[in-house]
């Protein structure tokens, strides 16, 4: 719904200010891409709820790919909508900014890629599931509650934090949207 609003009313979400103006359209595309990608990741790893596990195995990679498409396509769309560099027509500034951006990403990705590669080569990086049992046999005894036998209906307690998270997320989002929309039109970002 937020994405639809952004597409229909792009100007209202645009941030016009001294350091350049661009809409937060990319933020919405990025969030959507992450949602699709994370869902796909859970599917590929076989971590979807039991009823949906077959769906995850079958379509997980497709969801990952779709997330990537949304990210790339969204980036294209956001740049078509317009940036400060395009509007000012300063080609040199745009080139410099792009170089700095790519340079930073290259250094960062190279460093962490090297760290990950070294960790895998040395055999230290263990992604296997067997290691998770080590914590239960390390001689530090679990709390008495760990041995407690569950009673019928207690699984419903799960909905307390779920509801709290949902309510607070709604509360914060609504608060921000209401604040933004209630501003006089000349004061809106």
């Amino acid at each position: 719904m937020a994405l639809a609003l952004q597409l229909l009313l792009p100007a209202k979400a645009a941030a016009e200010h001294l350091s350049g103006g661009a809409s937060d359209l990319m933020g919405l595309y990025g969030g959507s891409a992450l949602l699709l990608g994370f869902t796909g990741l859970l599917g590929v790893l076989g971590l979807a709820p039991r009823r949906w596990r077959w769906f995850g195995y079958r379509y997980g990679r497709w969801l990952l790919g779709l997330g990537l498409l949304v990210l790339l396509g969204g980036g294209f769309h956001a740049s078509v909508v317009g940036t400060a560099e395009r509007e000012t027509g300063d080609v040199a500034l745009g080139r410099l900014a792009t170089q700095q951006l790519l340079g930073t990403l290259t250094v960062f990705a190279s460093f962490w890629g090297l760290v990950y590669y070294a960790a895998r080569r040395s055999g230290v990086l263990n992604m296997g599931e067997s290691v998770k049992y080590a914590i239960l046999r390390n001689g530090d005894p679990p709390e008495p509650t760990a041995a407690r036998v569950g009673r019928p209906g207690e699984q419903r307690l799960m909905w307390i934090p779920v509801a709290a998270m949902g309510f607070l997320a709604f509360f914060f989002s609504a608060g921000v949207l209401i604040t933004l929309l209630r501003l006089p039109s000349g004061a809106r970002p």
Binding site: A14, S19, G20, A22, S23, D24, G30, G31, L34, G37, F38, L45, L47, A84, A97, Q100, L101, T104, F108, W112, L125, N126, M127, G128, E129, V131, K132, Y133, A134, I135, L136, N138, G139, D140, P141, P142, E143, P144, T145, A146, A147, R148, G150, E154, Q155, M158, P161, A164, M165, L168, A169, F172, S173, G175, V176, T179, L180, L183, A187, P189
Partner: protein, 468 residues
Amino acid sequence: MMFSAVEGSASRNFFYTAVLWMAIGMSFGLFAAVLLIFPDLVKGIPVLEYFTFGRVRPVHTNLVLFGWLSGAYFATLFYMVPRLSGTPLWSERLGNFAVLFYNLLMTAYAVTLLMGMNAGREYAESTWVLKVLTVVLFALVFFNVIMTFANRKEKELYVTAWYMLGAVATAPVIYVVGNQFLMPTNPVTGVNDAVINWFYGHNILGYWFTTIGVGAIYYLLPKLTGNPIWSHRLSMIGFWMLMFVYGPTGAHHLVNGPVPYWLQTISIAFSVCLIVPVWTVLTNFYGTMNGRWGALKESVPLKFLVSAMVFYFITCFQGPMQSLRSVSSIVHFTNWVVGHAHLALVGTFSFIMFATIYYALPRLINREIWSAKLMDWHFWLSLIGFTLFFVSLTIGGLVQGSDWAANQSANFIASVINQRPFNIARAVGGAMILGAQLLFIYNIFKTATAGSRLGAGQAETGSAVAGV
């Protein structure tokens, strides 16, 4: 010998002193909140001239960040690392020396900041001498941790070990670089220093406070529920994503400011990407708790952990949202940001430390917690007080943002007056939080002095560390 070599003593001593610094730091915080309601409270009173808001606030932030939370984190490292490694802590004597060093350093922090010796950089207000000594403190603790890992018997590294090693590897770098290599006079000034300051200010949260906090969750959840974590593979993806993605996010504190546009965009993009590591933690949390929710009724540490997960989610929901330019233009510099910071440091990481202390301390001193009723009071008073605290700050921040955006700069005082009811609610919430912690400290004191011995099933087998 002056420094004890008893197994577990360094961890225990760090826990004891950390909770005392928590009480002191939070008291300064409450006083700062009261000053926002009664700004002339200390005006004209000779001794109290040191206790103006400008001095009290940095004392609060530094004592809760470095005195309480970092102290508790050192204790957590000294407790969990030996048990993950299958070997005792490399040197309890060095650990106890670090305890003494840390307490003297925190005293110096408080005294110098109250005297107005302030470097003027957020979360790095202390003078350069104290910053050098802080690095020495980190070195004392981390050397002990690294040597323990180096001598480990448990060859497989559980995810908590990865998070703790990640903290050890990255936190000193961030502290040293972010404080301009600890030079006595900052060679970089102005907006460029702001960029460096927020590289430090935000990344110390991600690479020190988040790593140890999340690592502690992964240790405690199996211990409190009896279930292994749902997916170790997913937790490792979360760890590596955190390590990769957190670094460039610092400049989101400077969005809409006079810093390069591309830098802001990178920080926003990576802030949004941070959603994924958070979701890995939350997915593992719900997966691990599956079938064990009944334990929530009887376990106060688990209540704290579940609450911490809710606050962690909401902190990391707000973060990407408020890094967007349009949202940032409304909430930047307002009480919303103060609420957000407290959601992370109090609601998430302090709550995790309360759970850790309730779990670890009885095992360290071989005594049961003195009063289960006080534990309950501690939890409910903390939760209700903190909810009042952050809700009032969030709504107040939105009111501030809309006041300023609607061109109240011509009447700024009106926006200040509008905050009064929210400041009062915040102070009430803060008083409840502090009251809860005083009950907690009393319970810890009575546990240490009068708690009953642990039953045979709860005491650790053989030596205090793994595998025996």
